[in-house]
């Protein structure tokens, strides 16, 4: 008879790392001048308030799933990983038009990943860092061997097109990373949490349109997120001066700059590269961090071996961050 008091558990990996990154943005570029034709706004106002120069909007027939498939496929190619090697697909998002079915299973199928564990993960703009944390720990625990994490959003489905407070900010896109085992850890522990007492700061008005209390969100993000980023560094055994590349969620350039300033006050270097992908991508919620990472790798501003610190924050309120080595 078997010993029923002790069950077998999977042997885990000694460490994890990001093996590759990919992203996708719709073709359609929307400038501030384009927006000023349909609402009371202008280029200077938008640049000063949120730092966005242009953003990408998906076409009507271009879905969140379509964008996720393209970003996921690109990440696998970058990692040199065949779809058949992937056993887990995590899809952070908050704008999937259907509750049933989820996005992850159909995205996996279209990429050619056969029968993986597949689930959506909604932590809004913190979703990608949540997803990397979960993927990394699944691999460390031996549950997964290779995981594909895809942040994908079609926020334009949920923005009142003439709401000048929000329509200027949000955009569409997808970004992905492949996470696998490593002999030495190259992804730090996730520092994460939520602040549900502030649930009413960002929500969907009339169950449809994204609404946020701009000043309150700004205050929260500029005061409460740098400490989370510092906690992520501490968990990874790093100092602020070790950070080569900082990628805060691209919510608003002024929030990004405020977080960078706070980290520099704690010892981060002046030459630390700070993501400003929002300028040409807008706020793409759970896609913003992997989009920025992919663009920065391609531009050479994030280099292989760099210490990257990512931190996401958004509706819920939710927040998560971790340090990792740039692939």
């Amino acid at each position: 008879m078997t010993d029923r008091s002790t069950l077998r558990q999977a042997p885990g990996a000694p460490g994890t790392r990001i093996l590759g990154v990919g992203s996708f943005q719709p073709e359609k570029i929307v400038t501030n001048d384009d927006l000023s034709k349909i609402m009371d706004t202008n280029d200077q106002w938008i640049r000063e308030r949120v730092g966005i120069i242009e953003r990408r909007f998906a076409e009507k027939d271009e879905s969140l799933v379509d964008m996720a498939v393209k970003a996921g496929t690109a990440a696998l190619a970058d990692a040199g990983v065949d779809p058949s090697e992937v056993d887990t697909v995590i899809l952070p998002n908050c704008t999937m038009p259907t509750q049933i079915p989820n996005a992850a299973a159909q995205v996996a199928d279209r990429i050619g990943i056969t029968h993986p564990a597949a689930f959506d993960l909604n932590a809004a703009c913190a979703g990608f860092c949540y997803g990397i944390g979960v993927a990394s720990d699944l691999i460390r625990a031996g549950t997964a061997k290779k995981a594909l994490v895809i942040g994908a959003e079609k926020l334009t489905d949920h923005v009142d097109p003439v709401d000048r407070a929000n329509a200027i900010i949000f955009a569409d896109g997808a970004g992905a990373a492949v996470v696998g085992a490593a002999d030495t850890p190259q992804i730090g522990p996730v520092a994460w949490g939520s602040a549900g007492e502030h649930v009413d700061l960002i929500y969907m008005r009339d169950d449809r349109w994204i609404y946020q209390e701009g000043q309150s969100v700004f205050r929260w993000a500029t005061t409460q997120i740098a400490p989370i980023a510092l906690q992520a560094l501490e968990l990874a055994g790093l100092e602020p001066s070790d950070v080569d590349v900082l990628i805060p969620h691209q919510a608003n350039l002024r929030i990004v700059e405020a977080i960078a300033k706070k980290l520099r006050a704690k010892g981060a270097r002046e030459d630390m590269v700070v993501a400003d992908d929002i300028k040409y991508s807008g706020n793409t919620s759970s896609a913003s961090i992997p989009l920025a990472l992919d663009h920065m790798r391609k531009a050479g501003t994030a280099k292989q071996g760099d210490v990257v610190l990512a931190v996401g924050f958004g509706a819920g309120l939710s927040y998560a961050g971790q340090a990792f080595i740039c692939p």
């Binding site: 000063e48 701009g214 000043q215 205050r219 002024r254």
Partner: protein, 81 residues
């Protein structure tokens, strides 16, 4: 506790740092928005720094009532511990 002149001077330092407005221009009768051209997000940054500097809480709904520099001085003076 700081008197109103000291609060005004302290606020002027903050406004200069956050919004680049010369300290001499930050006088009691000036409107943050209309005269000093300070936007709603900079107002939050000013409030956060004022909270640290003066040991006072300025919630966002109170912030909306602080139209002029003088309003802010009076609020800090009345609420600082």
């Amino acid at each position: 506790m700081a008197d109103n002149a000291e609060i005004l001077a302290g606020l002027a330092e903050i406004v200069e740092e956050v919004a680049g407005v010369a300290q001499d221009d930050v006088t009691a009768e000036k409107s943050f928005v209309d005269d000093l051209d300070i936007d709603s997000l900079s107002m939050v940054e000013i409030a956060v720094q004022a909270e640290d500097k003066f040991g006072v809480k300025i919630p966002d709904d109170e912030l909306a009532n602080l139209k002029t520099v003088g309003d802010a001085v009076n609020y800090v003076s009345a609420n600082a511990k």
